[in-house]
């Protein structure tokens, strides 16, 4: 079985698990979506459970990589610029990985807690390092960034117009700047 086949199955699985949930997804639907037979799927992955675990693990690594890249990039001197770009960057990777994040936020299978914790804490530390204001609870702020950018992607993926997404993201950036920079 080629790597390409394997990847197609994993990609299809992510989409189907995202759309239908773990329990609602079936290996039959996944196989169909990937363009292969169920037999092919079982030969490589053995069970639905295993396929889910593989898909999740792969995407956890992918997301963490993209997340680390963002952490390394932002070096704006100006707090306004920094906050704006970190929110835009987070929104970007969450949107790119929407199905994965949707699964993370709605399924308990696969114990996503350590992953969520790592991302939110990582984001929190990164912002704290760059903003350096005392009275802010950075964990809470990081959590709002994570959840709101997810919520905006959810709206966009549900078929609301793209314009809403951009406008709302701007609105979120403005609200956030307002909150963070007004706190003394």
């Amino acid at each position: 079985m080629t790597d390409e086949t394997i990847q197609k199955i994993i990609d299809a699985a992510l989409k189907v698990f995202g759309e239908k949930g773990y329990k609602g997804a079936t290996t039959r639907i996944i196989a169909e979506k990937a363009g292969f037979s169920e037999l092919t799927l079982f030969r490589k992955f053995k069970t639905k459970e295993n396929l889910f675990d593989v898909a999740l693990t792969q995407n956890i690594i992918k997301f963490k990589d993209e997340f680390q890249s963002i952490m390394l990039e932002d070096k704006s001197e100006n707090p306004d610029e920094f906050l704006k770009s970190i929110i835009i960057d987070m929104a970007g990777i969450i949107d790119d990985n929407f199905e994965f994040i949707h699964i993370i936020n709605n399924e308990m299978r696969g114990s996503p807690e350590p992953f969520k914790k790592e991302i939110i804490k990582g984001l929190s530390e990164h912002i704290k390092k760059n903003i350096q204001k005392d009275k802010i609870d950075y964990d809470t702020f990081a959590l709002t960034i994570f959840m709101v950018t997810y919520g905006l992607s959810l709206g966009k993926n549900r078929g609301e117009t793209f314009i809403n997404y951009e406008e709302n993201l701007d609105g979120f950036i403005n609200n956030s700047l307002h909150c963070i920079l007004s706190t003394n």
Binding site: D139, F141, T144, G151, G171
Partner: protein, 180 residues
């Protein structure tokens, strides 16, 4: 009463298994009634599903209205606290319904989510008008933050202190109203 039992059971099953994963057979079994009874009362799985969505939406909106109407605090911090506490309780109580809204992509779920955001957004704007605030996003922020907290709480594996998180959220956002 038969209807209520089936509706309550179906809500739990749809939330857990999704629309496609849930079967009328399973719902009937879990509710203690026959599939025949289920179909007699609700005709189709789709109709059962839509009935649950609309009933829960009406109930939840009604309770949200009450929370908003009873919040007479003038001080932004107190206002936000009462609002957050209310939304947290509501999200907890209607969690299965909200899960369905988030997981099922259909007209009803889209409209329901929009309605909640609108209601909260307009309410806050009326009470604390300020041209610098994006109220729709603020409402979305409140709802998505609360969803995370309750999801975390219900699954019992927390990495944040929920009460503290809500307090900090209020601290962070109360600033928004004080600045003009």
């Amino acid at each position: 009463m038969t209807e209520k039992k089936i509706l309550d059971t179906a809500l739990t099953v749809f939330a857990k298994y999704g629309y496609y994963g849930a079967t009328t057979r399973f719902i009937a079994d879990e509710s203690g009634f026959s599939e025949v009874t289920l179909f007699r009362k609700f005709k189709t799985k789709k109709n059962l599903f839509y009935t649950i969505l609309s009933k829960n939406q009406d109930k939840m909106l009604g309770e949200l209205d009450e929370i908003l109407a009873n919040n007479e605090f003038e001080n932004p911090r107190d206002f936000l606290k009462a609002l957050m506490d209310g939304v947290v309780d509501l999200t907890d109580k209607y969690f299965d319904f909200i899960r369905i809204l988030l997981n099922e992509n259909c007209e009803i779920s889209k409209k329901a989510l929009d309605t909640f955001v609108d209601k909260i957004s307009h309410y806050i704007e009326k009470r604390f008008p300020n041209s610098k605030i994006d109220y729709d996003v603020l409402a979305l922020t409140i709802l998505s933050f609360t969803y995370f907290i309750i999801f975390d709480k219900i699954h019992g594996r927390t990495f944040i202190d929920h009460t503290n998180a809500v307090e900090e959220f209020i601290n962070q956002y109360a600033v928004l109203f004080s600045d003009k």
